[in-house]
Subunit: 318 residues, 2 copies
């Protein structure tokens, strides 16, 4: 078991090695932009899921490091485009030309990265891998548009929240597992099991992300606590708190989201906690972690299966 | 011949029909954004090139209407993203939230459209079509980044201008012809000939676009004359005029592009004409039109080949 763990570490080091030195596009400006974003951190969960899915099907993960890396790069490309989107908040007072030159390059860099990934995937991977990746990107964009349309919608049912999260976050985890399983030579039952794992895992992952945005300390988070609230997002702790049916709380959120009150977000966060929004979110996360692990039932026991279960357990919040 | 022409018209009507009624994505907001952009006009030159390339190889163009339509949609997706880029100029004084909400949706709509196209192409078209399209999108983005970096660079050699144009504009015309030829069952010599046609045609097309930006009337153009100049682009009429080596003209452009003079663009345009920049551009266009037609030499005579030659001749400017 100790050897197996050491092997995993080597595998992840190889993915990092790919990002740090092998990764390169024809365009130096774009290569640099992507490298900076990769160097800024990230737990590389999507590549991990891909490589473990390959191993869980009995395949050789070292043969699919690039595929694993492409999963992270799809995520990075969406982050680059999110930055264009988010510039709105930080733009004021900054030289417009510089910011807009940044926006231009960000849009083009994200587009180029998507194209570069598909160029490489269509050159090196058989059907249906290229199709899965393009369908996943369509899902991510669709989910983000749905999220935009749901901003500030206090009546958003939890089912629609889950649908948005399935598209914008879980689809890429599902595709990471599915493509890893396919390239690992998995049977169709194994491929379906691993895709199912990825999707349930991805939902739990996003719910945890929503929770940490409200409960983590700013240093760990790397951004202000309550950022989602300031962006008028409908996140799972807020939806759970609203579902308690307290009219006064609902009125307060309504005024905050309408911009009629810019009163301290910290007080709203405290109310969400008081109303049980955080506890209910922890329970939701536990449900999806359980579903992720249950999805793995058809898989034979293996070190990789155990590692996937551990990844899921690591999402649980005390 | 009259019957054949009527057939062509039917074919193009079917492409329009696809855009107007069949085209639809899962996301109504994005479908609407794309439809509006398609309804705003465009000569559908890329689909025409695809369908004529299929016919020139003896294939049935009606079997590849969707492929032809995807070529136009790639172009539309890049236009949607260009609008994000260009908002900078029209943003001032406009409600920032509305504009930024527009930016968000534009970035996502373009991304979704790219993903939707690749999803469909990977589902319905064999290798190497999906690879050609993703490599083409990478070229387009690369060319646009190179163009950004060349803004205001009065020393840009004409060879680098052509390299930028090959990537940002000609690559998609080349791919439109190449994919049409492949699906039409063309031999590798025919596929290469038609790709060559598309690339030379695309260079002439962009040069004509550069010229019309300076010489057309605003109503025909649908935007202010001299727009490229105000964006500090290095276009072919300007490069030709600079190559005449007149120090006074160079100094004037330098001040204009440095922002040290906002003096009337109309005077600069007149100088470009006086220095022979427009005439030299007409000659450059004629050269690439000639090369496009010469690229078709390996093709057997056919109505479609004649039509491609006519498309090229239509780029000539008196």
């Amino acid at each position: 078991m100790i050897d197996a763990v050491r092997d995993d570490a080597d595998l992840y080091a190889l993915v990092e090695e790919f990002f740090a030195s092998t990764f390169s596009t024809d365009n130096p400006l774009i290569t640099e932009a992507v490298r900076r974003m990769l160097a800024a951190g990230g737990k590389r969960l999507r590549p991990r899921v891909t490589l473990l899915a390959t191993q869980a099907c009995g395949g050789d993960a070292t043969a699919h490091l690039y595929l694993a890396a492409y999963m992270e790069l799809i995520h990075v490309a969406t982050l680059i485009h999110d930055d264009v989107v988010d510039n709105a908040q930080t733009r004021r007072g900054v030289n417009a030309t510089a910011v807009d030159f940044g926006n231009r390059v960000s849009v083009l860099a994200g587009d180029y990265l998507f194209a570069w990934i598909f160029k490489n995937v269509t050159a090196s991977y058989p059907a249906p891998v290229p199709h899965i990746l393009s369908a996943t990107l369509a899902d991510i964009c669709d989910g983000e548009v749905l999220q935009l349309r749901a901003l500030g919608d206090l009546d958003l049912p939890i089912e629609q929240y889950v649908e948005i999260v399935e598209k914008k976050t879980a689809s890429l985890f599902g595709a990471s597992a599915e493509c890893g399983a396919i390239m690992g030579g998995g049977t169709s039952a194994e491929v379906a099991a691993l895709r199912g794992f990825g999707r349930e895992y991805g939902i739990a992952f996003q719910m945890r992300d929503d929770l940490l945005d409200m409960t983590a300390d700013e240093r760990t988070l790397g951004k202000p606590v309550g950022n989602d609230l300031r962006e008028r997002k409908m996140t799972i702790p807020l939806i759970h708190a609203l579902n308690r049916g307290e009219a006064a709380f609902r009125g307060r959120i309504g005024r905050f989201y309408d911009g009629r009150s810019d009163g301290p977000a910290a007080e709203i966060l405290a109310s969400i906690g008081d109303l049980g929004g955080f506890d209910a979110t922890r329970a939701s996360i536990a449900t999806y972690v359980q579903r992720a692990k249950a999805a793995l039932a058809p898989m034979a026991e293996s070190h990789a299966k155990n590692e996937l279960q551990s990844l899921a357990d690591a999402l649980l919040v005390e």
